[in-house]
C-alpha cells in the first residue's frame, strides 16, 4: 500500500518539477521523465502485487468536512491499474526523445504536468469507491486530457478537436451524473454499496444511462465522434495513452456498474453485445477509409472497443442465461483484449509518431518505402499490425480466441444465447477480415513499396528511447501471444471481484486452453525455423540478382503508379456503402493531352453526419432564440442568481 502512496507522490512531483523547471529544457525533461517513469513503475509493481495476492486495499478521508473521499483497490481495479501504469510508463519513456523541440519549452513543461495529472486521475478513477470520488477523478481525467489534446493549439484544427472532445466528455459525464443521480435518489447515500438493492426497472435505467456515459468515453458507436478528431491532434505518446488506456476507463466503468448493480438479465447483455458489434464493424470500415494515419488508428480503437464489448456482452449473457463457461470465457477474453489492445494500439501510435516526427506528414498516400531505412519502427509496426489483426502467434489472437470459445459455447444453450453467440461469431470473423485488410493497407502503403513523395524519401529513425519503447511493446505482443497462461490468470483474478454469483473461478480449464495456444504457437514457430533452414539450403550457391520490379513490359514505372491507400480500400468500402457513404471528386479528363488533374475521395462517418443535422442544428437554433438572456448587464445577472436561489429554496 505504501508503494501506491509513493507512486502517486512521485508522479505528482514529476508534474510539478516540469512546471518549476521550464527554464532549463533538458533538465526539466530529464527530471520529469525519470520521475514519471519511476512513479509508474512503482505503481505497476504495487498493482501487480495487489492483483496477484487478490488483497483488497481501502482508504478514505473527509474532504471539506462534507464529502468523504474513499478509495478501494480490489482485483478488478488492480487489473486496470496494471494496464494504466504499464502503458503510461512506456509512453513516458517514449516521450523523452519525441518531445525534442526546446523552443517549445513552456508547452512541453505544461504537457508533462497534465500528463502526470492524467496518469494519477486515471488511477484514481479505477480505484474510486463512491460517487463523489469517482466523478471528481473522472473530471480531472477529462480536463487534463483536454489540455493534452490542444497541446499544439496553434493549429485551428487541433483547437476544434479539443472543443469537440471537451463537449463530448462533458455530455458523457452528464449521463454518468444522471445515472448516479438516480442511484442517489433511491439510496440517499454517496456510497456504491446500495446499488445492488435498487428495484429492477431502476437498475435498468441506471445501467443504460451509465452505458451511454461510459460508452462515450470508450468510443462506442455512435458516441465515438470525438475520438477520431481528438486522438490524432495530441502528441503521439499522448494518443497512445488516450487510445490505449484512457478509453479503457470507460470499459472499467461499464464493468464496475454492472458488478455493482448485480442485475443479470439478457437484455443488458444484448445491449452491450449489439453496441459492440456495431462499433466493431463500423469502426474498422471507417478506419479502412481513412487517409490520415493517426485518424485510422483512432477509428481502429473504436473497432477494438467493439471487440471488448462483444466479449463483455457474451459474458453478461452467459451469466444471465446460467451458463458459467460462456460467461467466464467472454469476460476474460474481453478483459484480455483490454490489455492486448492497450499494448498494440500504443505500439502502433508510437510507430505512427515516429513516421510523423521524421516525415512531417500523416497522409498515408504521401508515404511509402519507410521500412528500408526505419527498420526497427517498421518491424515493430509489423508486429503491432499482425497483433491487431488478431493473428496467431501474437497477443490479439488470444483474446479473440477466448471470446470465440465463449460465443460458440453460447450457441448450445437456448435461443437468446444462440442468437448472441451467432451474432458474436459472425461479426468477429468479419471484423477480423476487415482489420487484416486495414492493416495490410497501412503496412503496404506506409512502410513498403517506394516513397510516394519527397517527404517520405530517405528518412532515418532516430531517438533511442522511442525505439526502446516500441521494442518493449512489440516483445509483449509476442510474449502474450505465445505464453498467454499467466495473463489469462490475471484476467481471471481481475474477474473474481465482478459479482456474477459464482464462487471461486476454477483456473485449470482455462489454463488448459492457454497451454493449447502455446503448443500450437510453438509448433508453428518450429516449422518456421525448419523452413528457414531449408530456404537457406535451397539458395546455397544459387545466383541471386537484384533488378527493378517487373512492370509487365512497361519500362518507365514511377512511384506515382503504385496502388494508393485509397485505391486499396475502395472496393471493400464500396461494399459497405449504405453505412459508409463514399464520395469522390475528380474533374473529367479531357483532350488528347490532358492537364494535371486531381482526385479526392472520402468516406463520411454517418454518426457525425447525422449528429450535425439531428442534434447540433436544433440545439443551435434553440440557443439562438434564447440569446436575449445574455445581454451583458451585470445587475440583471446578479438578479438571475438571486432568483435562482429563491426558487431553489422552495424545493429544498
Amino acid at each position: 500500500m505504501n508503494l501506491f502512496y509513493m507512486s502517486f507522490l512521485i508522479l505528482f512531483s514529476g508534474g510539478i518539477l516540469a512546471l518549476v523547471g521550464q527554464r532549463n529544457f533538458a533538465l526539466m525533461k530529464m527530471l520529469s521523465v525519470v520521475s514519471l517513469a519511476t512513479g509508474c513503475l512503482s505503481g505497476l509493481i504495487a498493482s501487480a502485487q495487489a492483483l496477484w495476492q487478490e488483497k483488497v486495499f481501502q482508504f478514505s478521508f473527509t474532504y471539506l468536512n462534507h464529502f468523504e473521499l474513499s478509495y478501494k483497490i480490489d482485483s478488478l481495479s488492480a487489473f486496470f491499474l496494471v494496464v494504466i501504469f504499464l502503458i503510461s510508463m512506456i509512453a513516458v519513456i517514449y516521450s523523452y526523445h519525441y518531445m525534442d523541440h526546446s523552443e517549445n519549452a513552456l508547452a512541453t513543461s505544461v504537457h508533462y504536468f497534465f500528463f502526470s495529472l492524467l496518469i494519477i486521475s486515471m488511477a484514481l478513477v479505477v480505484t474510486a469507491d463512491n460517487i463523489i470520488t469517482f466523478m471528481l477523478s473522472w473530471e480531472i481525467m477529462s480536463l487534463s486530457s483536454f489540455f493534452l489534446v490542444i497541446f499544439d493549439y496553434g493549429k485551428a484544427e487541433n483547437r476544434k478537436a479539443g472543443y469537440l472532445y471537451f463537449i463530448f466528455s462533458h455530455i458523457g459525464a452528464m449521463f454518468i451524473f444522471a445515472a448516479f443521480g438516480v442511484v442517489y435518489g433511491y439510496t440517499s447515500q454517496f456510497g456504491f454499496n446500495g446499488m445492488a438493492g435498487l428495484p429492477d426497472t431502476v437498475k435498468m435505467i441506471v445501467f443504460v444511462l451509465a452505458f451511454i456515459g461510459f460508452g462515450s468515453k470508450a468510443g462506442v458507436f455512435p458516441f465515438h465522434v470525438w475520438l477520431p478528431h481528438a486522438h490524432p491532434a495530441a502528441p503521439s505518446h499522448i494518443s497512445a495513452v488516450m487510445s490505449g488506456v484512457m478509453i479503457k476507463t470507460g470499459i472499467y466503468g461499464i464493468l464496475r456498474v454492472y458488478s455493482l448493480l448485480d442485475y443479470h438479465v439478457s437484455v443488458l447483455g444484448m445491449i452491450v453485445l449489439v453496441a459492440g458489434v456495431i462499433s466493431g464493424i463500423l469502426g474498422v470500415v471507417y478506419a479502412l477509409g481513412q487517409h490520415d494515419l493517426k485518424r485510422l488508428l483512432a477509428y481502429s480503437s473504436v473497432e477494438n472497443v467493439g471487440i471488448i464489448l462483444i466479449g463483455i456482452g457474451i459474458g453478461m449473457i452467459g451469466v444471465a442465461t446460467g451458463n458459467p463457461l460462456m460467461a467466464i470465457l467472454g469476460f476474460s477474453g474481453g478483459l484480455l483484449h483490454v490489455l492486448n489492445h492497450s499494448i498494440f494500439k500504443s505500439l502502433l501510435f508510437m510507430g505512427a509518431g515516429m513516421v510523423l516526427h521524421k516525415t512531417g506528414t500523416r497522409a498515408i498516400d504521401r508515404l511509402g518505402g519507410l521500412l528500408k531505412r526505419m527498420r526497427i519502427t517498421g518491424a515493430t509496426f509489423l508486429i503491432g499490425s499482425l497483433a491487431i489483426s488478431g493473428l496467431p502467434p501474437f497477443n490479439g489472437f488470444v483474446g479473440e480466441f477466448f471470446i470465440y470459445l465463449g460465443a460458440f459455447n453460447g450457441t448450445l444453450f437456448g435461443n437468446t444465447a444462440f442468437v448472441a453467440g451467432v451474432l458474436a461469431v459472425v461479426s468477429l470473423a468479419v471484423i477480423g477480415g476487415l482489420a487484416l485488410a486495414c492493416f495490410t493497407k497501412v503496412m503496404g502503403v506506409v512502410f513498403q513499396g517506394e516513397p510516394r513523395s519527397r517527404a517520405a524519401a530517405d528518412k532515418d529513425e532516430t531517438g533511442n528511447t522511442m525505439l526502446f519503447a516500441m521494442m518493449i511493446l512489440a516483445s509483449f505482443c509476442i510474449i502474450i501471444g505465445v505464453l498467454p497462461g499467466i495473463f489469462i490468470q490475471m484476467t481471471l483474478k481481475g474477474l473474481s471481484s465482478v459479482s456474477m454469483g459464482y464462487g471461486r473461478i476454477p483456473l485449470e480449464p482455462f489454463i488448459q486452453m492457454t497451454e493449447n495456444i502455446t503448443l500450437a504457437a510453438v509448433v508453428f514457430l518450429m516449422v518456421l525455423l525448419v523452413l528457414l533452414a531449408m530456404r537457406t539450403l535451397a539458395y546455397r550457391g544459387k545466383p541471386v540478382g537484384r533488378k527493378g520490379t517487373w512492370g509487365c513490359g512497361f519500362t518507365q514505372p514511377t512511384p506515382k503508379m503504385q496502388y494508393t491507400g485509397s485505391s486499396y480500400s475502395a472496393s471493400i468500402v464500396e461494399f459497405f456503402r449504405p453505412v459508409a457513404p463514399f464520395q469522390e471528386h475528380h474533374p473529367p479528363v479531357e483532350g488528347r493531352f490532358p492537364e494535371k488533374t486531381i482526385y479526392h475521395s472520402r468516406i463520411d462517418d454517418i454518426a457525425e453526419r447525422h449528429m450535425t443535422t439531428i442534434i447540433v442544428r436544433p440545439v443551435m437554433w434553440m440557443f439562438d432564440r434564447l440569446r436575449w438572456i445574455q445581454h451583458g448587464d451585470i445587475h440583471l445577472y446578479i438578479g438571475y442568481i438571486f432568483l435562482a436561489i429563491v426558487v431553489l429554496l422552495f424545493f429544498v
Binding site: L371, P392, F408, L412, Y539, V544, G551, S567
Partner: protein, 307 residues
C-alpha cells in the same frame, strides 16, 4: 496412433501436388487437348528449386518472408487436419479457429509481400485478396456453429475423423448438402479458382492470386506453389469427408474411398473451371455471399431438428 497420424501428414504433403494436376487434366479434357502429365507439378517444383532468384530493388525482407510464412502456415494447418479419417497429429478444443487464423496469417504475408514490390498490378491483386476472403471467413464460422451445435465438440478431429462425418449427416440431415455447396464455394474463393479468379492466365487486370506472386521466382516461388497445393488439399479434404462419410475400419479400404472422394472434389473444381467464365470483380462478392447464405440457412434449418 501418433505414428500413423504423422505418416498420413507426410503422405498428404507428398500427394497434394498430384491432385492439383488432376484439375489441369480435366480442363485439358474439356478443351479437347491431351494436357500436361499428372506429375507436372512435381516437375515444376523441382525446376523452380534448381533456379536462383531475382529480387526487386523495391523489396525488403518481408518479400522473402512472404512465401515462407504462408507455406509454414499451411504446413501447420495440415497437422490439425484428419486425413482419410485418421486422427490428426494435434488436436485441441477450438483448433479450427487457430487454423482459420493461421490461414489469415499466411494471407497477411502474401499481401504484404505483394505490396513490397511497389507494382501497381500486385497492389491491385492484394486489394482483392484482402477483400473476398472476409465473407468466406464469416460463412466458415457459420458452418462451424452448425457443426458445434450438432456434436457439442469443437475441433476438426471430432467432426472429420473416423465415422464422425456420418454422425453429422445423421443429426443434421439434408441441410448438410447446403454446407457442402457452401464449402465448395469457399474452396473456389480461397484457392483462387474460377469463377473468382483465373489461375491459368497471367493477365494482370483479371487476376487476384496469380498477379500477387508475379515478382517471386526460384525456390521462393516453389514455396508459394507448394503452399497453394496444400491449401487446396485442406479444403478438398473437408468436402471429401462430407460427401463420402463412410468409414469401414480397414485402413486400405478407407484410404482408397477417401482418395476417390477427394478426386471427385478436384474433378468438380476442374469441371467448374471448364464450363464457367470468371465473374466480373464486383459480382464476386455476391457469389461469395451465397456461401454465407447457404451456411446460414443450413444452421437455421437444423435448429428445427435439435429443438
Amino acid at each position: 496412433m501418433m505414428i500413423e497420424s504423422i505418416l498420413f501428414y507426410v503422405g498428404a504433403i507428398i500427394v497434394a501436388p498430384f491432385f492439383s494436376a488432376v484439375i489441369l487434366k480435366v480442363k485439358a479434357f474439356f478443351g479437347g487437348k491431351k494436357g500436361p502429365p499428372l506429375l507436372i507439378n512435381y516437375y515444376t517444383l523441382i525446376k523452380l528449386l534448381k533456379k536462383g532468384s531475382v529480387y526487386s530493388t523495391s523489396t525488403t525482407t518481408i518479400f522473402k518472408l512472404g512465401p515462407i510464412v504462408s507455406l509454414c502456415a499451411v504446413l501447420t494447418v495440415l497437422m490439425f487436419l484428419p486425413i482419410a479419417g485418421v486422427k490428426p497429429v494435434f488436436s485441441f478444443k477450438g483448433d479450427i479457429i487457430f487454423v482459420l487464423y493461421l490461414l489469415g496469417l499466411g494471407r497477411f504475408f502474401t499481401i504484404a509481400a505483394a505490396m513490397d514490390t511497389a507494382s501497381p498490378f500486385e497492389g491491385m491483386g492484394a486489394a482483392r485478396e484482402a477483400n473476398f476472403p472476409i465473407i468466406c471467413e464469416a460463412s466458415f464460422m457459420m458452418i462451424l456453429v452448425l457443426f458445434y451445435k450438432m456434436t457439442g465438440n469443437f475441433n476438426l478431429s471430432s467432426w472429420f475423423s473416423d465415422t464422425q462425418p456420418m454422425t453429422l449427416w445423421q443429426s443434421a440431415g439434408s441441410p448438410l448438402i447446403f454446407v457442402v455447396i457452401s464449402l465448395f464455394i469457399i474452396l473456389l474463393t480461397e484457392n483462387a479458382r474460377v469463377p473468382v479468379d483465373d489461375p491459368a492466365t497471367h493477365l494482370e487486370l483479371t487476376m487476384i492470386h496469380e498477379v500477387m506472386v508475379l515478382d517471386h521466382s526460384g525456390p521462393d516461388f516453389a514455396m508459394i506453389e507448394f503452399g497453394a497445393f496444400m491449401k487446396l488439399f485442406f479444403y478438398a479434404t473437408l468436402i471429401a469427408r462430407l460427401i463420402c462419410p463412410f468409414n469401414t475400419g480397414h485402413l486400405a479400404v478407407d484410404v482408397s474411398v477417401f482418395a476417390g472422394a477427394i478426386l471427385m472434389v478436384y474433378v468438380a473444381a476442374g469441371i467448374t473451371e471448364s464450363v464457367m467464365a470468371r465473374y466480373r470483380m464486383d459480382r464476386v462478392s455476391k457469389f461469395v455471399m451465397t456461401s454465407f447464405a447457404l451456411a446460414f440457412f443450413a444452421t437455421i434449418l437444423t435448429l428445427e431438428f435439435i429443438g
